[in-house]
C-alpha cells in the first residue's frame, strides 16, 4: 500500500502564469461583444439595419434643425413679398452661358394673364441674382426673444429666392415649411409623452394588480379602441375655445392626441407585466419587501423598456399625421401658428392647387418624416431583443 503511494506522481505545478482563456482565446471583437451592455448591443444591431439607421440620421438632422429654423430659412416667417404673389419655385443655378458664376437665381418679370387674372412670371436670363451666404436678411426674433437678422443663405439685395414658390400672400413656402417643422415635429413628441405617461400608469396598474383594476382598464381600452380616432379628435379639438392663445391650443391639441392614443401602449405594458411578474426575480423582490412601485419601476420596466421605445417610435408618426389632418381641416392649429397642416390647409381648394401646384409641397416633409419614423420603428423593434437571433 505504502509502496504505491510513493509511486504516485509528484504534485505538478505549471510555472507559466495562469490564463483562464487558453482553451478558447477570445478575439478582441468577441470580448467586446460579450461584455457589451444591452443598449450597446441594440445600437449595434440597429446600425446593421441600413434603412433604420439612415432614417435615424434623417430624423436627427430634421430635429436638430428645429432649434435653428430662423437661420436656415432664407426669409422670416411672415415676410410678405407683395410683388411676388403665387410665384413659382425658382431653381438655383451654378453656370450662366457655360461660365461658372456660383449659386444664383434668375430674376423674373411679372405680367398678368388678362383672361384668367393669373400672375405670370417669366424668367429673365439677363438678371443674375447671386445668393449670399452667412448674411443679414429679414429680421426676426430668435426663439421669439432675441432680435437678429442672421441667415445661412439669403437672396441677393434686390433679388428673390423662392425655392418652393410663394403662397397667396407672397410668403416664401420654403421658409414657412422650415418654420412649420418646429411645430409639426415637436407636437408628436409632446403628444407621445402624454400617451406614454398614461399608457405606463394605466397599463402598469392593470398588469401588476390584476383583478378589478385590470378589468376596468381593459373595458375602457376596448371602448376607446372601438371609437374611430379621427372623428373623436375632430370633436375634441372643435371643443377647444376659440379665444385660447396659439400656445394653449398647441398644448390642447397635444393632450387630445395623447388622450386617445395611449390604449395601444397600455395594452403592451399590461401584457408584458403579466408575463414578467411571474418571474422568479419579481417574486424574490416581493419577498424582500419591495413595494409595487419599486418592483415595477426598478425590476420590471427595464426589462421591456426597449420594446416600449420601439412601439412609441411607431406611434409618433400617427400623432404628426393627426395634427396635420386636424389643422388641414381647420380644427387644429390656426394661423398665425405655422405647421405643415396649417400650410396644407391652403391646398384644400384643389382647383387652386392645379394652378399653383407648389402649394402641395408641405406634403413632402410629412411623408418623409412618417416614412422615416416607420422604418426606424421597424428597425428598433428588431433590435429591441438583441439576444434573439
Amino acid at each position: 500500500m505504502s509502496k504505491e503511494t510513493e509511486k504516485r506522481n509528484e504534485h505538478f505545478v505549471d510555472t507559466a502564469p495562469f490564463n483562464p482563456w487558453d482553451r478558447e482565446e477570445l478575439t478582441p471583437e468577441q470580448e467586446k461583444y460579450f461584455l457589451a451592455s444591452q443598449w450597446q448591443l441594440m445600437w449595434w444591431r440597429l446600425k446593421r439595419h441600413r434603412l433604420a439607421y439612415f432614417s435615424l440620421i434623417i430624423l436627427a438632422i430634421m430635429y436638430a434643425s428645429v432649434f435653428i429654423v430662423e437661420f436656415i430659412a432664407p426669409y422670416a416667417q411672415e415676410t410678405r413679398n407683395s410683388e411676388y404673389i403665387h410665384h413659382p419655385p425658382q431653381g438655383v443655378h451654378l453656370f450662366h452661358d457655360g461660365e461658372f458664376v456660383g449659386p444664383f437665381t434668375y430674376g423674373t418679370d411679372f405680367s398678368v394673364d388678362m383672361e384668367t387674372l393669373k400672375p405670370i412670371y417669366t424668367v429673365n436670363p439677363d438678371r443674375l441674382e447671386q445668393l449670399r451666404f452667412f448674411c443679414s436678411g429679414d429680421e426676426y426674433a430668435f426663439w421669439g426673444m432675441v432680435d437678429m437678422d442672421f441667415h445661412f443663405i439669403c437672396p441677393s439685395e434686390n433679388g428673390t429666392l423662392f425655392l418652393f414658390g410663394t403662397d397667396r400672400l407672397g410668403r416664401d413656402m420654403f421658409s414657412r415649411i422650415i418654420y412649420g417643422a418646429r411645430v409639426s415635429l415637436t407636437i408628436g413628441l409632446v403628444g407621445i409623452a402624454v400617451s406614454f405617461l398614461l399608457g405606463i400608469l394605466i397599463g402598469g396598474a392593470a398588469g401588476y394588480y390584476g383583478g378589478w383594476v385590470d378589468s376596468t382598464a381593459q373595458r375602457s381600452i376596448e371602448v376607446i379602441r372601438s371609437l374611430p380616432e379621427i372623428p373623436l379628435w375632430m370633436a375634441l379639438s372643435a371643443a377647444l375655445p376659440v379665444t385660447w392663445s396659439p400656445i394653449l391650443i398647441y398644448f390642447g391639441i397635444t393632450i387630445i392626441l395623447g388622450l386617445i392614443d395611449w390604449t395601444g401602449l397600455a395594452r403592451a405594458v399590461r401584457s408584458k407585466l403579466l408575463a414578467l411578474r411571474e418571474e422568479d426575480y419579481a417574486l424574490a423582490a416581493r419577498l424582500m419587501g419591495a413595494k409595487p412601485k419599486r418592483i415595477i419601476g426598478r425590476h420590471l420596466l427595464p426589462n421591456f423598456a426597449s420594446h416600449l421605445i420601439a412601439s412609441v417610435t411607431l406611434s409618433i408618426p400617427n400623432m404628426i399625421l393627426g395634427e396635420t389632418a386636424l389643422s388641414f381641416l381647420g380644427l387644429g392649429l390656426r394661423a398665425p401658428v405655422t405647421s405643415w397642416g396649417v400650410l396644407l390647409n391652403e391646398a384644400q381648394n384643389i382647383n387652386a392647387v392645379a394652378v399653383y401646384p407648389w402649394l402641395m409641397l408641405p406634403v413632402v416633409p410629412v411623408v418623409v418624416v412618417v416614412l422615416a419614423f416607420n422604418f426606424l420603428g421597424d428597425g428598433l423593434r428588431d433590435a429591441a431583443d438583441p439576444y434573439k437571433n
Binding site: 371609437l227 372623428p231 384643389i350 392647387v353 401646384p357 410629412v366 416614412l371
Partner: protein
C-alpha cells in the same frame, strides 16, 4: 353558437351605452351652445331679442333642463330612431342627414371588402414566393401604403386627375343625380365613382393586411404537418388551401377590429377632401357650428358602425373556429 351570439350581443349593450355617454359629453364640451352663439349673432346685428323668445327657444330645445335629463332624452330618442333636432338647418336631424348615413355605410363596407379582396391573393402570393421580386415589390408598395397618410393621397390623386385627365373625381355620383330619388342610373353612377375613395381609404388597411396574412402563413408553412403533407405527396395547391391557409385565416378576420376604426377614421377625412356626400363633411361643419345633436348623431353612427362591424367579425370568427365559441373568448 347561439349562447355565444347571445353573450356577445349582451357585451355590446354596455359598450354602446358608455359610448353614448362619451359622445354626449364631447358634444357638450364646447363652451356655450348653439343658442347663445345664435343670440349673440342676432344682437351683433342690432336686432332686439325678446326675452320671451329666448325662453321659448330654450324650452323648445330642452336647453333649460339639467344635463342628465338632456342626455336621457337624447339617448331615449336615439333608441327610437329620433336623432334630435339640428339647430343650424332648423330641421330634425333625420331629415338633414338624408342619404348620407347610407352612403357612408356603402363606402365603408366597400372599402373593407376591397381590403379583403386585394390583400388575400397578394398575401398568399407573398408568403408562398417569399423573397421573390414580386414579394419585394409588394412589400415596398405596402410600406408606402402604410406610411402615406390617406388624405394626402386623396389630395394628390385629385390633383393628378385634375391635371392629367382634366376631370374631377370628387363626389360620389354624377352631378345630375344629386338630390334625385334613387334609381338604377343613380346607383350605377355611385358605383362608378366609388372606386377612387375606396382605393384611397383602403391602401393602408390593405398594406397591413397583406403583411399580417404573409407573416401568419409563413409561420404555418414552416410547421411539420405541412412537411408531412408534402412528403405524402399531396399536390402543393391542396396542401396550401386545405390546412395552413385555414389556420392563417383566423387572425386575418380577427384583425378587422383594428382595421375598421381606421377605415371609418380615414373615410371621414377623405370624404372631406374629396367632398363626398357622406357623413364626413357634414360632421365637420356641424362640429364647427356647434350643431350638437347633428354632430352627436354622426359620432354615434360612426361608433356604431365600428362596434357592429367588430361584432360581425367576432361572429364570423366563432363560426370559423370552434375553439373560440366553445371557450367563450372574444378573439384576439
Amino acid at each position: 353558437m347561439l349562447t355565444y351570439l347571445a353573450r356577445r350581443l349582451f357585451v355590446m349593450i354596455p359598450t354602446l351605452l358608455i359610448i353614448s355617454v362619451l359622445v354626449f359629453v364631447i358634444i357638450q364640451l364646447p363652451p356655450g351652445d348653439f343658442l347663445t352663439t345664435y343670440l349673440n349673432e342676432l344682437q351683433a346685428q342690432g336686432e332686439a331679442v325678446d326675452p320671451a323668445k329666448i325662453e321659448f327657444l330654450k324650452r323648445q330645445y330642452g336647453l333649460d333642463q339639467p344635463i342628465y335629463i338632456q342626455y336621457a332624452e337624447w339617448a331615449w330618442g336615439l333608441l327610437q330612431g329620433d336623432l334630435g333636432f339640428s339647430f343650424e338647418y332648423n330641421l330634425p336631424v333625420t331629415d338633414v342627414v338624408g342619404d348620407r348615413l347610407w352612403l357612408s355605410l356603402v363606402l365603408n363596407f366597400s372599402t373593407v371588402l376591397f381590403i379583403y379582396i386585394v390583400s388575400f391573393p397578394i398575401g398568399i402570393y407573398s408568403a408562398t414566393r417569399q423573397y421573390s421580386w414580386g414579394d419585394y415589390g409588394f412589400t415596398l408598395l405596402g410600406f408606402l401604403g402604410l406610411a402615406m397618410p390617406n388624405f394626402l393621397f386623396a389630395l394628390i390623386l385629385l390633383y393628378y386627375a385634375n391635371v392629367v385627365f382634366g376631370t374631377s373625381i370628387g363626389g360620389l355620383m354624377d352631378p345630375e343625380y344629386i338630390n334625385q330619388g334613387w334609381s338604377l342610373g343613380k346607383m350605377m353612377s355611385v358605383v362608378e365613382h366609388l372606386w377612387a375613395p375606396v382605393v384611397v381609404i383602403g391602401t393602408s388597411g390593405t398594406a397591413s393586411m397583406i403583411r399580417r396574412l404573409r407573416a401568419n402563413l409563413l409561420d404555418e408553412l414552416g410547421k411539420q404537418y405541412v412537411v408531412t403533407a408534402h412528403a405524402k405527396g399531396l399536390s402543393p395547391t391542396k396542401v396550401l388551401f386545405k390546412y395552413p391557409l385555414r389556420m392563417a385565416l383566423n387572425p386575418f378576420i380577427a384583425d378587422i377590429g383594428n382595421i375598421l376604426p381606421q377605415v371609418v377614421s380615414g373615410s371621414v377625412l377623405v370624404s372631406v377632401v374629396m367632398s363626398l356626400p357622406t357623413t364626413g363633411p357634414m360632421l365637420l361643419t356641424a362640429l364647427q357650428s356647434q350643431d350638437m345633436y347633428l354632430a352627436g348623431s354622426f359620432l354615434m353612427f360612426l361608433a356604431l358602425l365600428t362596434v357592429v362591424g367588430m361584432f360581425v367579425s367576432d361572429v364570423l370568427l366563432a363560426w370559423l373556429d370552434p375553439r373560440i365559441r366553445l371557450q367563450g373568448g372574444v378573439g384576439k
